[in-house]
Symmetry: C2
Amino acid sequence: MSPKKQEYVVGIDLGGTKIYAAVVDHKGRILGVGRKRTKAELGFETTVERMAVSVKEAVAEAGVDYDEVIAVGVGSPGPLDLKRGTIIETPNLGWKDAPLKASLKNLLKRPVAIDNDGNVGLLGEFAYGAGHGCRDMVGLFIGTGIGGGVIINGKLLHGFNENAGELGHMILNPEGPMCGCGTRGCLEAFASRLAIEREIRAAVAGGAAAAIFDNVEKPDAPLRSKRLSEAFAAGDAAVVAAVEKSARYVGYGVASLLNIFNPEVVVIGGGVVEAIGEPYVRLVKQTASQNVFKIALRNVRIVAAELKDDSAVLGAAMLAWQKAYK
Amino acid sequence: MSPKKQEYVVGIDLGGTKIYAAVVDHKGRILGVGRKRTKAELGFETTVERMAVSVKEAVAEAGVDYDEVIAVGVGSPGPLDLKRGTIIETPNLGWKDAPLKASLKNLLKRPVAIDNDGNVGLLGEFAYGAGHGCRDMVGLFIGTGIGGGVIINGKLLHGFNENAGELGHMILNPEGPMCGCGTRGCLEAFASRLAIEREIRAAVAGGAAAAIFDNVEKPDAPLRSKRLSEAFAAGDAAVVAAVEKSARYVGYGVASLLNIFNPEVVVIGGGVVEAIGEPYVRLVKQTASQNVFKIALRNVRIVAAELKDDSAVLGAAMLAWQKAYK
């Protein structure tokens, strides 16, 4: 499997707001990167062209010859049709039946592999990060929404319609808050960044003091991770309560996942986890440990993601290596 | 893999109250059965001897020669240590570190394979029942407790410590009723036969009329499936409400499992489902369908178990065939 000459792949993390491309070598080292805004509102074809530009920038920065790039992998919002290589539908990009794989292959002249962002993030952590060396692994990525993925016996779980791993949509209370997916009380509706923001704003509307909105130019603008991180560190009570609630619910979700999958590693990542850090992971672990069969915890690691922003590009790169060498 | 001469296996369903053994041929036909009470309170060795007697009875009823029985499979309450072949601990049998596999092998002089009851029930339905021909399948068995199992790509999911598939202990509301496992709001605490009984008794204590306790010799005795079935059919309001609540919560659990695994088949079985039948399964399907991503439902079957009381012995028989021919 080890490449004999200079060979590289490109991983692309296609997000709702940003495109992030990276040239990666066979050891998982990032040699050059390219970034663009997604601008999904300008249409699918425009975004694909911007992805191609990001790839060219990453290749230029890496200083490699494009002939040495043998495949491209992409992590994309889903649901995806993996057989046809299309994005079936995605609320935060606004496209339907978008032929991601074919269009990108056409522009880049390379084999292209795609998978959804949760799977790709997990694959990155599995191959190069917190799950390195394990065989059975589950991941939750807590950001604007909550993505997830499952690896069983070293392989991503895709399921009958290739849409397994929607771990953010476990129901944690059927009478809970409405989720973006239309169901009440999904993990995402309790614990995502949007859920945290909603909790904080409700507390403030109810009269709680929250310095997080003081001296801010646009208090109604979406709450970014940096401000959340600072307010949590400063001990802003409404913020601490909302973040802790998120971590507790993620902990309940992890408890369920431990009883369901009995994995070796549970990795917790995404913008919220990066912003809050160790206190968040600790509360997840504590809540999970108190609500699960002891045997499902034996020698099991519940850990923070290690690759931060790079888990998806590195997972996408791993997809590309798998495509090139399968 | 197909047996060349007359060969049979014995499957044993070890339950909290009953031992059920069956001689099974390579087509999954039951040729003879033996039944005994478990009498776990008399100690592990006594129960194992009773299992051996059940096997002998089944062999006699089948009219086969014991020399033609090539292996024995057992479905047991868990958690189990599959490598050591022991029951680690089980509240409703009261044993600890019980060497099930070794003791049974010693008495029966045959290779013995064991797995937990949920897995074995699912394996029976997979091999000979509702899941025949599929590759990815999830099962929930609603009885006194709630067992479960997962088959991925044709194989039982065991996990890192061999205790995956505890689907009855998904958390469906962290502030819900206390479960026997010590966690609040597990699916089992909302939907098992014991949960249904608790709901009915609470409604009656609150003044609801419930004919289910009229003209009954011992109204405080555990509620058996037959009485539950009759009272539901008669439209006893407290009973209907409690059963429908159980089915709705199983439906929420199935929705989560569809989003997590995206299986091809979800099978719903166990004493409660057998007692209530189609109305129960219909409500499970309806609730699940309303709370899941549409793509995770495409061509997916949510069906009642087909083998009734025989799913575990037939699954145990399949374990035995796998043991004999691996």
